[in-house]
Amino acid sequence: MADNTVQYKYKPGNLQASAPNKLQPELLRAEEMIINLGPQHPSTHGVLRLELLMEGEIVKEAVPHIGYLHRCFEKHAENLPYNQVIPFVDRLDYVAAMNNEHVYAMGVERMLGIEHQIPKRVEYARVLVAELNRIASHFIAVGTYGMDIGAFTPFFWVMRDREHILRLLEWASGARLLYNYIWIGGLFYDLPVGFEERCAEFVQYIKPKLSELETMLLQNQIFIKRTADVGVLPLDLAINNGVTGPMLRASGLRFDLRRVDAYSVYPELDFDIPVGTGAMGTVGDCWDRTYVRVQEIYESLKIITQCLDKLNGEHKRTRDFDPQALVPKKIRPKAQDLYVRGEIPKGELGFFFRADGRNDVPFRCKCRSCSFTNLSVLPELAKGILIADLIAIIGSIDVVMGEVDR
């Protein structure tokens, strides 16, 4: 066997040693059983493994096992210069890479003290691509959620519409999913000529499709029966669990970091923050979470329209505009600790940096991921429900395992 081949020698005890069950079969009472769900089950949205203590069809306890997609983001970040971490940041929440990059770039710029010098055109372009990506991410969330509970058609519809967004972003950055487009201090390139017009066309195209999606999915009686009053997350439990993003808003709190922290150019933009109202059942149920996501797509479209107005008017493309003008050659922030946070489609993405002032690499870079904390509420929600409802709840949390495991 050559040295560089990777061989996995199967031994029967390997799984028990590396990912041992928490629930003990010996302690089971009559009628109880342990069921293993995942990690390769399509409804777990990636590689999430759940250990379920069942009594008939009722889930008594759920124990999540994560880490199957752990790619050592923090270790990599501590060994690379700040600007070279951006491709790794893309791979956290890989369906909304622009939003991740935006938060990361903002954090490093804040450490360098150049946050307020970034040209407005760059900031508007960042917000434009980030909101486009937010729509793409919510499409995935809503579409796959529909498919989880048996609605097949909306999935095809949203994938069709998401393709337009991916092509726009590919045109701007050269990649379909992992862009490396937002750089520290600027952008990789300026938006391509004609991008604004195509974007405006897309906004016009997508609006009727969205109302179609709403009628097809949100107002669908089967969908309502499967999601209303299921997985109700009370507001106090949500906050105590660190739940953020659409999940927190669905529980009734009007809390959006784009408004609260007013970072980037969001204070100059006009948009609403949809919250769950319990229209079909109780506030904070699965239907509310899906409803909030669909409403947020409308709000993102509003933001995109305003960004396009600015990019076509006040901050028009000029021949000598260089989006890389402020990109620092050498990134060495002063010694400091900094926690930066921003709203990505799943919630609050935060980065904790410690710079020691002597190195071009961060001393510590911690990623606070929203899917991770949002998923940690699952054992609370999964007590005493049917196993079919558990699938509905996992889908409504909208986990991206790349971000959970980092």
Binding site: N241, F352, K366
Partner: protein, 160 residues
């Protein structure tokens, strides 16, 4: 009064072992407290009527390398009052132990498990302290500065 000074004063009342130290270089501003004062300070941070830090955003473990110490940093945010604060604790590197805050904020449960996994910091009175991201039979704590990865894991070469 400025919010940060008020927070510092609230923390000071709770500290019995040593006075809290303000860290102005941090963003948001930080307070360094003694490890034995942590629980009292955190309880007061959560329940004080004019602070009410209800959201524990992030817990970070930091290893300052052999010969130095370890740190745990808590990022708190108060939704009703829009206050941020960073609470820092230094730990002895040879035997890092700290009280868990998972009974105050449930979000601390997994965040602390992750720090235990990556740094080997023991959280006392934690309900379920197991490894979370690495396999249960992994050797060592990967984010420690003196970490040497094992050569093979189940006959798979670990080298990256």
């Amino acid at each position: 009064m400025l919010p940060f000074e008020e927070i510092l004063l609230v923390a000071k009342v709770q500290c019995t072992h040593s006075d809290p130290v303000a860290e102005e270089l941090a963003t948001p501003k930080g307070i360094r407290v003694h490890v034995h004062d942590l629980l009292a300070v955190m309880l007061e941070m959560q329940n004080h009527p004019s602070l009410y830090f209800d959201l524990l955003s992030c817990i970070t473990g930091i290893d300052n390398g052999p010969g130095s110490d370890m740190e745990v940093v808590y990022n708190l945010y108060s939704i009703p009052f829009d206050h941020h604060v960073m609470i820092k604790v230094k730990l002895d590197r040879s035997d890092p132990r700290i009280e868990s805050v998972s009974h105050l904020w449930r979000s601390a449960n997994w965040l602390e498990r992750e720090i235990f996994d990556m740094y080997g910091i023991t959280f006392l009175n934690h309900p379920d302290l197991r490894r979370i991201l690495m396999p249960a039979d992994w050797e060592g704590h990967p984010l420690r500065k003196d970490y040497q990865h094992q050569a093979y894991y189940r006959d798979i070469k670990v080298e990256y």
